[in-house]
Symmetry: C2
């Protein structure tokens, strides 16, 4: 999706891919196969680029700091990325900033989990400090027994949080240039199922202006304090008492995919502009309502991909985005967007199209 | 631009390019270097594709008919493309269809031009039957003397038309699937300078509903009669007496570039869907007004491309599309689009941005 945006601006995207079959490698013109954990591979790759950026947060910080020391423009920099690579570090930093976060505690052993559960009430949420994604690395613990079972797995670096009583989840997504110029998109509502985002509504329905402003100001403050360059997505819990920060991502993020079809400037173009220190585009919505629904791999695959695509496209308002990934149950294989003046209609169309991409129309 | 659209749908675009530096070859993942005039090159290329389509009309009809005879899916087919490859054939066919066309005549020598000029009044417009593009292959002849000078060049296959008194130029762009499903975009106004399109306004301002319907019906009738598959652009003259067909293009066309940022479905995606016989998307406008302005190569190049890009992007509403072509005076190097509720504002922004891409902001 970054390549799509880069083509328009005459930018050359070079991809460091694990293998030629990787999504980005399938479509980009310049692909280098290598290991993002290898300093040698990173160094050789970076030598061919003006700026290095990311589509995930797993490139080792040590390697990135070494590249920076050697003069490579790494954006966002390792000093900022550290807060997405270690979620406990993120919690500490956000708390120090005075940003609203859940009650939390470091965990050395089962007794810390139990003490936290007694103090804040069960259930509590244990999180892996790193490596989590799409619901992985997050455990809801109902009692001391489940806490001891989790710790018995061993080899987990954990922290623990209170379980926040959520009204709904929101995301405030902004982009920031090195000099500080910052542009926000409208705050969106994100809908999760089993810890995986399934739907995004932009802008979030019935969000007060003050709450919208509060969320954007919070994201802007975090971007500034952490010196983020590029896209920053701040996942938020909306509670009866206000906003609480859940997690951060410093790259184009699922909560911003709607912007490809629904905003003046997509998050992918904006990220490229930000990391290249080009002026940022408008983040304003291009339609009254945009609904994005993720296509998750089905347990049972029905029909050919071509037949499923044709079925989804039968609705002329549907925008389909496929990622070229192999089918696997629960895996994010693409997304669908529908824009329009009628939110309920847009939602219905988007969900129906995703069903068709999963083969629903072909089973009858 | 087709590759950008194809990425989203999970389609693999393979490009037959003259050389690796060609625009499409710079960004596509699968590029074959070859000669589009060579049957061998075409055959080898086609063997790797499900469907073959075009971004220009110069692939020889004989070669395409041979490919079709060998079972290759060529869309649009050579029987349709023939009318864009030979403009006299196009005139004959449109006249036979009863479509409104200028008075015209075949030309065997200077005497035919002179007789036509005497009959219809000078000036007249001589056109090359094939190979014309962006004002090339069109000559406005003021008198018998200029007619004789043109014919004296020799080696020109010409026909001649009356010079139509134009109120303005319009374009009706539609897409058609093999089975006949057809979707139109709003009719646009195209503004030419020295025979080259410089601006497109979508939808055309102050166009009556009946005139809009007439233009779309005309394009649909032509698409159907000529069995066009893919995008058909019908360039129209609007005169005091009604519409007159100027030329046809059977591919994504300059008059449809606005649709990337301004319509639900872009002409590039729609063309891909049509030639692959997938359901077509909505052609409706996504904004009240969209203005597209072409970036033509300047006589004198000012500043670096990066500085010019940054200057253009300083307006956050501006959408920039660069084609990766080498600078040459008058060459179409890209385009800019601005959408909005205020047509005058959108036009001003688009023209200013194009000026900046040409270096205007860097000369002061």
């Amino acid at each position: 999706m970054t390549h799509q945006a880069a083509i328009a601006l005459g930018l050359s995207v070079r991809v460091l891919a694990d293998e030629p079959a990787d999504s980005a490698a399938q479509v980009a013109g310049a692909v280098v196969v290598g290991d993002y954990r290898s300093l040698d591979d990173l160094r050789a790759f970076a030598a061919t680029c003006d700026v290095v950026t990311f589509d995930h947060e797993h490139v080792p910080g040590d390697a990135l700091r070494q590249l920076v020391a050697e003069g490579v423009a790494v954006r966002p920099g390792p000093h900022a990325l550290a807060y997405t690579q270690d979620k406990q570090l993120m919690r500490e930093r956000l708390e120090a900033l005075g940003a609203p976060v859940p009650a939390w505690r470091t965990v050395a052993g089962a007794e810390d989990l139990c003490a936290f559960g007694e103090e804040h009430g069960w259930p509590v949420v244990a999180k892996a400090r790193s490596g989590g994604y799409d619901g992985r690395g997050v455990w809801v613990l109902d009692d001391a027994e489940s806490a001891r079972r989790l710790v018995a797995i061993g080899d987990l670096r954990l922290y623990v949080e209170e379980r926040v009583r959520i009204v709904r989840e929101l995301a405030a997504v902004v982009a920031r240039r090195p000099g500080g110029e910052l542009v926000a998109w409208p705050v969106v509502e994100t809908v999760q199922r089993d810890g995986i985002c399934v739907e995004v509504v932009a802008p979030a329905a019935d969000l007060s202006e003050s709450r919208e402003a509060e969320a954007v100001a919070l994201a802007a403050r975090i971007a500034e304090a952490l010196d983020v360059v590029g896209v920053l997505a701040v996942e938020l819990f909306e509670t009866a008492d206000g906003l609480v920060v859940n997690e951060l991502a410093m790259r184009p993020h699922n909560s911003g995919h709607w912007s490809i079809d629904g905003a003046v400037t997509s998050q992918f173009e904006q990220h490229a502009r930000a990391v290249l220190d080009l002026p940022l585009g408008a983040g304003s919505a291009a339609a009254a309502h945009t609904v994005m629904v993720n296509l998750l791999g089905a347990d049972t695959v029905v029909g050919t991909p071509a037949a499923r695509l044709a079925a989804a496209l039968a609705d002329p308002r549907v925008r389909v985005h496929l990622y070229g990934k192999g089918e696997r149950p629960g895996r994010k294989l693409g997304h669908v967007t529908v824009t329009g003046d009628d939110l309920a209609d847009a939602r219905a169309r988007a969900w129906r199209a995703v069903g068709r991409l999963r083969g629903d129309a072909l089973t009858g």
